[in-house]
Amino acid sequence: MIKTDALIIGAGPTGLFTAHQLKLIGLNCEIVDNLDKIGGQCIELYPDKPIYDIPAIPECTGEELTNNLIEQLKPFNIKFHLSERVDELKKNNSNWEIKTNKGTKFSTPNVIIAGGVGSFEPRKFNLKECQKYENNSVLYSVKDKTVFKGKTVSIFGGGDSAVDWAIELSKDSKVNLIHRRDEFRGAQLNVNKVHDLNKSGKIKLFTKYQLKTVNGKDNLENIEIESDDKEIKKLDTDYILGFFGLIMQLGPIADWGLNIDKKTIPVDTEKFETNQKGIYAVGDICNYPGKLKLILSGFHEGALAARACFKLARPDEKYRFEFTTSSKTIKNRLGIKE
């Protein structure tokens, strides 16, 4: 059981800056995020898109913003728990007990939800029959590529993941690449490679096709794909890989006894506390009159929630407001030597 003053759920810009604020006022914290990297929507949805409304930064990309926030956290040794999703949250006396899907447990008086629009999950096939084979022969990520050796793999999707895996797996497997339109959004160099491999027969390319049925008994045997013009093709296959990007789902947050209104969590604007004492919501996931879904609003909300955490984490101490420009204590925490 990890004991901490505050647990932050979500490593997007708001979660990162909230961690900074907590450490600045002398509280420790850890961060959990379901993605395998730091940055949240900024890194997952728009790493290359310029953002123009971060105060004092005329222009920066989602990736640059994330890197700067990580840089700003450098003086503090913050523990990140990536690729972990918080599944359970229970009250135990004055503390919250949290458990992730990987079994990590935390005990803390303060939980700050900086979860954006929820956790990122792979978008799955719509066909019900796919569920039967999920994790066996219907997969949404590759954990061990050796299982495909000598097998037939049908890959669906048009982005980098689909294109890159089609190329990689074509070395040792029979590969079908199926996409709903002619254009691929993967890197051009690799898209060209796919077309070359298609010509040389290493990859069978089916564009303007989508998955129609999956057939088999205990094991997957074949699939039918259907074109825009309703033409159906039957393909024998051992595995199906779906790469349709990630979708955001509120997930387990919905089960923690919090008030939820249209996928957002109502909070007060003093502490950004939810209807549960010691649970706060900041950034895109919180809601209050006048709420703007801007990164700068998330920063403000995180700064105030951090101060609220102080009361519960240090009940016998009094919080004193200090400026980074003048406070010796803060400079010590930042490791600045004068």
């Binding site: 929507q41 949805l45 728009y46 629009v117 978008r123 719509n126 999707g157 048009g158 982005g159 996409h179 709903r180 339109r181 254009e183 959004r185 825009d228 349709f244 990007g245 979708i247 955001m248 789902q249 996928k263 895109d284 879904k293």
Partner: protein, 106 residues
């Protein structure tokens, strides 16, 4: 101002007046029409305001910008006539537009 009809997957109709300059997505969200989630708030970073527009209207709409088709790859059951409603801006010319909502957004 344009009258826009949103047809839910179950066939339920909603016809509302949407002010020029708003997106078809915003028209739905501001009027609490179920079936359009708009998770990313209109920044073309998700595909949860996905709608189908029948050919007669589809061809009259301004063409998709780069990126919209890429996002539509990630929509639920995308078709040739799929659009992201956050990318359709309302003007007088769209008076009478009908959009059909998919079974679900995610």
């Amino acid at each position: 101002m344009a009258k826009i009809t949103y047809i839910e997957h179950n066939g339920k109709n909603h016809t509302i007046d949407v002010t020029n300059g708003l997106s078809v997505m915003e028209g739905a969200v501001q009027n609490n029409i179920p079936g359009i989630d708009a998770d990313c708030g209109g920044s073309m970073a998700c595909a949860t305001c996905h709608v189908y527009v029948k050919e007669e209207w589809f061809n009259k709409l301004p063409k998709k910008e780069d990126g919209e088709e890429d996002m539509l790859d990630m929509a639920f059951e995308p078709k040739k006539i799929s659009r992201l409603s956050c990318q359709i801006l309302v003007s007088d010319e769209l008076d009478g537009l009908i959009v059909n909502l998919p079974e679900k957004q995610v």
